[in-house]
């Protein structure tokens, strides 16, 4: 089951990367499929927790640099077939059946998708045909690499916390933060593909999600959100002369972080009340 979790983790991420690469209607379909594969991941994780088997979020690196979408789609088909064969280890037959039928359908649709030339790795470093200064381009590049990893990290951390918590109040907050990070990851990944600098977020270290103190994690997280807000503000200022739309996008992300901070403070208050 642990291998099944790892393989599902990898195929979820690769499907999302394929969505970023596509510039046609296939993009939305691939997004939907990556969401389904993410749900598979959380269900397999639940089975592991129920059975008491140890697991983590380690995985292999995922090579995605291709020139044509067909190359990544073929790889996804191979991965989906391998996972289907591995479902034999899943003793929850209802779950195994559900995942298997999903995988076969997804594989069928993917095999019929049109080929496309992929520009997500051409390092053009331009966005919306806006001529940013070199300084603003570098700042945006660095921001996208840092924050796409950060959003992936937050998805995995909050998912781990949620998977190991029976507290409905906290789980509501964790789920909101997961959903928000998914939106941010998609936004940033999409921009990276447009700039030709797409990369898979690196593997996160166990110590980040197997936290000793959730409260300390939340306190540190609030500091990080405040720092991220400042980065968005700086970036908005750096690009505002060349693009009002891009500046407005970073302001929009910045204001979203306010609510994240508020939710994390609510979670901390909840811990304090539980202790009182």
């Amino acid at each position: 089951m642990k291998t099944l979790l790892i393989k599902t983790h990898e195929v979820w991420l690769e499907t999302m990367m394929a969505a970023f690469m596509s510039q046609t209607n296939s993009r939305q379909t691939l997004y939907e499929f990556s969401d389904i594969l993410w749900r598979h991941f959380t269900w397999i994780e639940h089975e592991l927790i129920q059975s008491g088997d140890p697991y983590d979020y380690d995985r292999d690196t995922i090579p995605i640099k291709v020139t044509h979408l067909r190359d990544v789609l073929s790889n996804l088909s191979r991965r989906l077939s391998e996972i289907d064969l591995q479902l034999i280890v899943c003793t929850n037959r209802d779950l195994a059946h559900r995942i298997s039928t999903d995988l076969r359908y997804i594989e069928g649709v993917i095999s019929r998708m049109s080929n496309e030339v992929v520009t997500a790795f051409d390092a053009s470093r331009t966005i919306d045909r806006i001529a940013l200064t070199q300084e603003a381009t570098d700042a945006l590049t660095l921001f996208l690499f840092e924050e796409s990893y950060k959003e992936y990290e937050l998805i995995m951390i909050y998912n781990y916390l949620k998977a190991h918590s029976d507290d409905a109040f906290l789980n509501r907050i964790f789920q909101i933060l997961i959903d928000e990070s998914f939106f941010h990851l998609r936004s940033f990944g999409s921009m990276m593909a447009e700039m030709g600098i797409l990369g898979v977020p690196r593997v996160i270290h166990k110590s980040l999600y197997q936290v000793e103190s959730v409260e300390q994690f939340l306190r540190d997280g609030i500091e990080e959100e405040i720092a991220a807000k400042q980065q968005c503000l700086d970036l908005s200022a750096a690009v505002s002369k060349e693009s009002k739309e891009l500046a407005a996008f970073f302001d929009f992300i910045n204001f979203q972080e306010d609510y994240h901070v508020s939710l994390m403070r609510e979670a901390l208050d909840h811990y304090a009340q539980m202790k009182a």
């Binding site: 292999d60 690196t61 570098d138 590049t141 660095l142 797409l198 270290h205």
Partner: protein
């Protein structure tokens, strides 16, 4: 990080030697005591006539993208070299940090000391197989000092 050229972008998109080695011969940790950022190095070592050689090396970073780039470059240099050359690599890296912007210096130092820690752990394990993983803390500050 200043002036992002294509080589640096490649390291950010596809960091070399990122990850872990199953049952490594030694591990080492470099830590920034200011903010808890860390670099963890895993080594696979081949002992050739008393001179250990780094057969494989992997790193993981709990830190910023500058640390990832430094890890990608330094582990790329370290792969395949013996411990003597490894010490020279660490010494050269640390020697180059004067005049480097504070954040970049701290990140590169963290990778260099984690490599030193991994090699020292390997040597210590030779004498005592139960020896734990060595952690070294960095001296450079990651904080960018405001000029008055």
């Amino acid at each position: 990080m200043t002036e992002l050229d294509q080589e640096i972008i490649d390291h950010m998109a596809n960091p070399k030697n990122y990850g872990s080695i199953e049952r490594p011969d030694a591990m080492g940790i470099g830590e920034n005591p200011e903010n808890g950022e860390k670099v963890i190095i895993h080594l696979r070592v081949k002992d050739e006539g008393g001179m250990p050689r780094i057969e494989d090396i992997k790193f993981q970073a709990i830190g910023c993208m500058t640390t990832v780039v430094a890890g990608s470059i330094i582990t790329g240099e370290a792969k395949g070299i013996d411990f003597e050359t490894g010490k020279e690599l660490i010494s050269v890296t640390l020697g180059m940090l004067d005049g480097v912007p504070a954040e970049e210096a701290a990140c590169s130092e963290m990778v260099a000391v984690s490599l030193q820690a991994a090699m020292d752990t390997y040597t210590a394990k030779k004498a005592d197989p139960d020896h734990g993983t060595i952690t070294y803390k960095i001296e450079n500050s990651c904080e960018v000092k405001e000029t008055p």
